[in-house]
């Protein structure tokens, strides 16, 4: 047995690019702590707040999709739900832009429970 992590690759796709961002994520997990230094405090706070909002948004969206799939909502309600969620998603994108945050930033590793989003 050698000690190269590559030994644990059993089958790889021709295109490994989709997996490359995991390396960045791993790097983040290993090196990053909550950014609480004075210069960064605003961004750190925004990151935390937006993470919670994004969690709620995704929960609402999943719930909405379940209800739509169950099929007992009338057309007007479906339209209203969809329009609300669509607007929320768009607003979320703007906020992420404003604070220079990516989807990756809005996720917390909860250890054994997995990742938040």
């Amino acid at each position: 047995m050698t000690d190269s992590p590559a030994d644990n690759l059993l089958a790889t796709p021709l295109n490994l690019d989709p997996f490359a961002r995991d390396l960045r994520r791993l790097d983040d997990v290993l090196t990053r702590r909550l950014q609480a230094d004075p210069d960064n405090v605003e961004r750190g706070l925004a990151q935390l707040v937006l993470t919670l909002i994004e969690l709620l948004r995704q929960i609402m969206e999943r719930q909405a999709l379940r209800r739509v799939e169950a099929g007992n909502l009338d057309d007007a309600t479906v339209e209203r739900l969809g329009a609300t969620l669509m607007a929320l998603e768009a607003r979320m994108e703007e906020l992420k832009d404003t604070f220079g945050l990516t989807d990756e930033d809005l996720n917390l590793d909860l250890g054994p429970l997995g990742r938040l989003l």
Partner: protein, 237 residues
């Protein structure tokens, strides 16, 4: 302070000479028919840097080479020898049972991502058109539903045949829109080559996916307390 790597049986089997974290020698702490493999430290050695993760992992893998192991999560620390014995004693039957479940078996990880086509041939069919962003609330929701169903269908086409070859499998919720499948399979050691060939065949059948298979790993996803957590987030969202 005691850093724990794994729980094994056959406590008389000599430990490998491999070193643990911070080059500390491996020691066994015995409780009847069980053995906890640990190293002792005055300072916490496990800053979660990549080389520390691999040091822990390689100890567990080396143990796995000649015995059944219950791998412990990186960062498992206990204050002293007595508390290690107490843990082994308290969960004795459970540990023995789980050891039987994983004996001769290894964990393989599989992830499938929606992949941009390398040759661009079929790309037009599968890539969602950014131009057709949903205009109405209704189409927004139904697009999301359709995408969910499509992903679930693609995931099943990979997961079902693999799960059929495995002794057990665990699916985790995907962590991004383009992640189609994230799963762990408990496979007989003798079946690893067959499993790998099956992955390659599935990859050929589904060029629109990028399928990554890693392992053999210690059976992290199939032992102990992690089970409940995995079960909760298992399956489709």
């Amino acid at each position: 302070m005691i850093w724990a790597y794994a729980v094994c049986d056959h406590p008389d089997l000599p430990l490998p000479r491999r070193r643990g974290l911070a080059q500390a020698p491996l020691e066994g702490i015995r409780q009847d028919g069980l053995l906890a493999v640990v190293s002792q430290h005055t300072h916490v050695p496990g800053d979660p840097a990549l080389d520390a993760l691999w040091a822990h992992e390689r100890v567990v893998e080396r143990l796995m080479a000649d015995r059944a192991v219950l791998p412990l999560r990186f960062g498992t620390k206990l204050p002293d020898v007595e508390s290690v014995r107490a843990t082994l004693a308290a969960r004795y039957d459970e540990f023995l049972l789980t050891l039987e479940k994983v004996r001769g078996r290894v964990e393989l990880g599989v992830r499938a991502m929606a992949s941009p086509q390398p040759d661009g041939a079929a790309a037009a069919v599968v890539t969602p058109q950014p131009a057709s962003t949903p205009q109405t609330g209704r189409s927004y929701l139904f697009d999301k539903l359709a995408r969910g169903h499509r992903n679930e269908h693609e995931a099943g086409a990979v997961h079902d045949p693999l799960a059929a070859m495995a002794v057990a499998s665990r699916r985790s919720r995907s962590q991004s829109d383009d992640e189609v499948l994230r799963a762990a399979y408990l496979v007989q050691r003798a079946d690893v080559a067959r499993f790998r060939m099956l992955v390659q065949r599935l990859q050929q059948q589904q060029p629109e996916l990028a399928i990554l298979c890693t392992g053999p790993w210690p059976p992290y996803s199939f032992v102990g307390a992690g089970d409940e957590a995995t079960a909760i987030r298992g399956g489709a969202s």
